[in-house]
Subunit: 214 residues, 2 copies
C-alpha cells in the first residue's frame, strides 16, 4: 500500500485563517482566543492531549481518534515547534508539549537552522533542512511503511500543496471569523482541480472538509 | 482506559432490518440483494476485504478505516459464522472469509455447540457457550487492554443491548426498504434512554448513526 502524506485535524476559521501573524510564547497560534477554533477537538473522548476521562464519541471523535492510526512520522514547520526565529540561541526549548508529546513517532521539524535531535518519551524531533520533497523522503523512510502526517503550520501545508505532495486533507472549519492572519485558502474550491471534496457538517458546529486526490 | 464493547459498521435498512429470516450458504444475510445495504462500504479505500487499489477517502472511509483500530477481539453469533444450525455435522466449515479472515484477533463465536478452535492466518475462532456477560469477560481478557468489537448478527447485538453491555454503536442506515426480516429496531429512538445519538448523513446516501452511553 502507498504511504500517504496526510493533513489531519487542521483547523481554520470560516474565512480560511489558521493562525495570527504574530506568534509568541503566550500565544502559540498568534490568536487571542485560539480555543474558539479548537474547542470541538478538546470535547472529544479521543483527543490526544486529554487528561480526564469522558468526552464525546460522536462524529468529531472519529476524526480525533484517527490521529495516530497507521501514522509513522510527522512533518512540521519550525513555527509549530516553537516561537523562536533565526539561529537557535540555545537548545533549551523542546516544543510546546511537555515531557510526553502526543506524536509518539519521529517528527521532522523543517528549519534552516539545524540542531541535535530531541527525544521526549516516545517522540524524537529531528531538525532538518531541504525542500519538501527531500524532507518527505526522509519522513517516509522513518515511517517504515506507515503514513506520514503533515502537521502544519499553515505555511508548511501551503508549501507541500504547492509541491503537489499532499494525498489527503482533513480540514476543520470552525464557526468563527478572524478577518486577518495566515490563510490556508480564500475558499476550499481552490483545491478542487486536484482533489475530491466531501463537506460534512458536525452537530458541534464545525464543518469537516475531506479532500483526497482525484 | 476502559475496554469498550463496540458495534461498528453495522448495516440496517431504512426500516431497521439487518438480515432476512432464511439464511443459506448462497445468501449469508438471507437477502436477495444484500449489496444494496453494503455498497457504501465496498466503495471505500479502507474496506477490510478490498483487494484492488483505489476507493473513496471521504466520510464513509473514516468508518471503515476504524474497523481494526484499538480492537483486540470480536464477539459474533453463530449465524454470522455460518449457515449451519444445531450440532456440528463436521468441522469442515471455517467461516465465510477464506484463508485470510479480516479480523486478525481472537474471535468468540457464541454457540450452544462447542467445537475446537479454528485458526486461519492471524484470526482464531473460539466456540463458546455462556451468557453475554461471560462471553464478554473472556473476550476482554483476550483483547489485552484493547476494545472488543461486537460483530453481530442482529440477534446477538439485541442480546447484548438487553444485557446493557454495549458502550458504543455505529449503525449505518442504507436508503433501501426491506419490509420483513430480522430487525435491530423499529426506530433508533428506542436507544435514547441509555445512549446519546448523532445522526450524520453521508454524501453516499447512507446515514451514520453514532451512539454512546449517556
Amino acid at each position: 500500500m502507498d504511504q500517504l502524506l496526510r493533513v489531519m485535524n487542521f483547523n481554520v476559521s470560516r474565512d480560511g485563517i489558521a493562525a495570527g501573524e504574530h506568534q509568541s510564547l503566550e500565544r502559540p497560534f498568534g490568536l487571542d482566543h485560539a480555543e474558539r477554533l479548537f474547542a470541538w477537538a478538546g470535547a472529544t473522548a479521543s483527543w490526544p492531549m486529554r487528561t480526564e476521562p469522558g468526552g464525546s464519541r460522536g462524529l468529531d471523535d472519529y476524526f480525533t481518534r484517527d490521529f495516530a492510526r497507521h501514522i509513522g512520522a510527522e512533518i512540521m514547520g519550525r513555527n509549530k515547534f516553537g516561537p523562536q526565529r533565526g539561529p537557535w540561541q540555545d537548545h533549551e526549548w523542546q516544543g510546546w508539549w511537555g515531557e510526553e508529546p502526543p506524536f509518539r513517532t519521529p517528527v521532522f521539524v523543517m528549519t534552516h537552522h539545524t540542531r541535535p535531535p530531541v527525544t521526549l518519551s516516545d517522540t524524537t524531533f529531528h531538525f532538518v533542512g531541504g525542500d519538501p520533497a527531500a524532507v518527505l523522503a526522509r519522513a517516509r523512510e522513518a515511517a517504515r511503511g506507515k503514513d506520514v502526517r503533515l502537521g502544519g503550520g499553515v505555511t508548511t501545508i501551503r508549501q507541500f500543496l504547492e509541491a503537489d505532495l499532499v494525498d489527503t486533507l482533513h480540514v476543520v472549519v470552525s464557526p468563527v471569523t478572524l478577518g486577518s492572519g495566515l490563510r490556508l485558502w480564500e475558499t476550499p474550491d481552490e483545491l478542487l482541480d486536484r482533489f475530491r471534496l466531501e463537506v460534512v457538517p458536525s452537530p458541534s458546529g464545525v464543518t469537516h472538509h475531506l479532500f483526497w486526490r482525484r
